[in-house]
């Protein structure tokens, strides 16, 4: 079967257009109605809502989805496993534990962001350090270390929950874990977004290396790659990308798994464009889910409900299509 590059080009274009369209919708939808006329006439309140609430929320929705999609692509490729995601080396459980600690012992949303970021990074650094103790440099060692760190972080989180005040603190921990874009506003996001964009740039520049990492260890080495060092850099960068987002939004399930998988099923390729498409799909999914989360009912719903509701049937459809074409 020949790889269809012409058809794939349409996927990239369609993905980009859909993403932009959703971004525009996302700027408008919300409790406070915005109108183009009032914005153009310089209405102060309209502009404040637009800049501090809508714009930042839309930017995080798109960037966040994009980052999760790209990071998921990198993880699946490096681990040669379609089920791999940043979670397997402990990033999400580390972030949850960090956020819980932040909610209990610190105050303010910035502090919670910082402590969940520290938790995510800490978990991954420990996992990678543990795996580096095994000199054979196998992928499976990293996964095992990740599972160990993941369960440690879960235990730590459980202990924190036990000490939490069930009325306020426990509820905020649970709500954080469910993930939402509702708390995002103003300028608190700048540092995270800059870090995220920086890491994404590095991942795209390293794309060729990521593909070579997907071959067998010895083979990659003979193609001139220092496997252990490069894998460490790639995994850390991908983790930083994810951590910079989920420390703002809380856990967002499924995008890191679904977006790259869909991009691959659609294009049947693993080129830099596929990675980009995976990012587009992630952005579409998160932005779309967020629009639904804030418009379906009177109260805000957790965004993960909709990422799964939108994503899962689509993935199942693609897999069934794939089966039929074989």
């Amino acid at each position: 079967m020949t790889l269809n590059t012409v058809k794939n080009k349409y996927y990239y274009i369609a993905g980009a257009i859909l993403l932009i369209a959703l971004a525009i919708v996302s700027l408008y939808v919300g409790k406070y109605p915005l109108s183009m006329e009032k914005l153009l006439s310089g209405d102060d309140l309209q502009w404040r809502v637009f800049l501090t609430l809508r714009l930042s929320r839309t930017v995080v929705g798109i960037m966040g989805g994009f980052a999760l999609g790209v990071a998921g692509f990198v993880f699946q490729t490096v681990f040669r496993n379609a089920l791999a995601s940043p979670d397997i080396i402990g990033v999400s459980s580390g972030a949850s534990a960090g956020a819980a600690a932040g909610i209990l012992f610190l105050s303010g949303s910035l502090a919670i962001t910082l402590s969940s970021f520290a938790g995510a990074l800490g978990a991954v650094v420990i996992a990678l350090f543990l795996s580096s103790l095994d000199k054979s440099g196998k992928n499976s060692t990293i996964v095992l270390a990740g599972i160990a760190v993941h369960s440690l972080a879960q235990t730590f989180l459980m202990c924190l929950k036990l000490t939490a005040d069930p009325e306020r603190e426990l509820a905020s921990i649970e709500y954080w874990i469910m993930g939402s874009l509702s708390g995002i506003s103003g300028y608190s996001i700048t540092a995270n977004l800059i870090l995220c964009i920086l890491c994404l740039c590095i991942l795209f520049l390293l794309h060729r290396h990521v593909i070579i990492l997907s071959t067998e260890e010895g083979e990659a080495r003979m193609l001139g790659v220092s496997v252990t060092t490069l894998r460490l850099i790639v995994l850390l960068t991908a983790t930083l990308t994810v951590a910079s987002i989920i420390s703002l939004t809380g856990l967002i399930s499924f995008i890191g798994l679904l977006a790259p998988h869909t991009a691959r099923l659609l294009t049947k390729e693993n080129r830099i464009q596929t990675m980009l498409l995976s990012g587009f799909l992630g952005g579409i999914l998160l932005c779309g889910a967020d629009i639904l989360a804030r418009s379906v009912s009177a109260t805000e719903l957790p965004v993960s409900i909709f990422t799964s509701l939108l994503g899962a049937p689509f993935l199942i459809y693609l897999i069934l299509q794939e089966r039929r074409s074989l």
Partner: protein, 268 residues
């Protein structure tokens, strides 16, 4: 100074020594076959030379000590074909072959137009013409090997290490692959170390054969000049009771044929 020298090479897995103090030298343009029973250390030897396996001893290619090189420098000097490539993601044949240029590219560089043309010409040369945009994973095992061979040849490295490249190929492709490697070595003044399963293929297409047994090179065969009886005696240690004969094919080329003696009489 020889083109490529291996000195006192030893490899152990734990306490178990696979190769012990192995030494040999090669000239340019040589195609050297490595024969040995299963588990005699053919793969280990190739992996040690290209630095994937830790070892003692030295490998020197044109005054370059291979042990001192970074992976990138090493990949420029020699290239290696594993028994089976680990590629498990959807990727086109062309992109697979272009991977071979990786050590020659700067950090942010992309394969140039010339590199693409060269890759395509090699895809033609190994007999995969028209398959540039085919998904690598949809190729047959033999075609995959040919694709990886193209990836190896594309970089003009001076030392080719090939681990049973013929194992998945059928009769016709086996001879085609080996004759390709031979003529490549002559044209590019490179040397190939090829571990082989098929002794007849080895006898008819290599300049020299190293026979591995018990972690040593038990003997060396020069198929073009050695007498049949001396080769028979050396090969008996690996393949049991066999005999060698000269045969001439219809186009008048002399070939060596290996026959099993005492056929169907169980182990001898």
């Amino acid at each position: 100074m020889k083109f490529f020298t291996v000195n006192d090479l030893s490899v152990s897995y734990g306490k178990h020594e696979i190769l012990s103090r192995l030494s040999f030298e090669t000239n340019t343009s040589e195609t050297i076959g490595i024969l040995g029973a299963n588990g005699s250390g053919k793969t280990t030897l190739l992996k040690a030379i290209c630095g994937i396996l830790p070892h003692t001893g030295t490998c020197i290619l044109e005054e370059n000590l291979l042990e001192n090189k970074t992976p990138k420098q090493l990949a420029k000097l020699c290239s290696y074909i594993p028994q089976r490539s680990g590629i498990s993601i959807d990727i086109s044949v062309l992109d697979t072959v272009l991977m071979g240029f990786h050590p020659h590219l700067g950090f942010l560089e992309h394969p140039s137009m010339e590199m693409k043309e060269k890759a395509i010409s090699l895809i033609y040369k190994v007999g995969l013409s028209g398959k540039e945009h085919t998904n690598y994973l949809h190729l047959s095992e033999g075609q995959k090997q040919l694709c990886i061979l193209a990836r190896t040849l594309v970089t003009d490295s001076k030392l080719l290490l090939l681990d049973e490249p013929e194992s998945a190929l059928d009769f016709h492709f086996r001879y085609q692959m080996l004759s390709l490697i031979r003529s490549w070595n002559r044209e590019n003044h490179s040397t190939a170390l090829v571990s082989l399963h098929d002794p007849m293929l080895a006898l008819n297409s290599c300049d020299r054969l190293l026979l591995l047994a018990d972690g040593h090179i038990s003997s060396t065969i020069f198929p073009q000049t050695d007498t049949l009886s001396s080769m028979e005696e050396k090969l008996c240690h690996i393949y049991g009771n066999i005999s060698l004969h000269h045969c001439v094919n219809k186009s008048g080329q002399k070939q060596i044929v290996m026959l099993k003696e005492n056929l169907f009489e169980g182990t001898d």
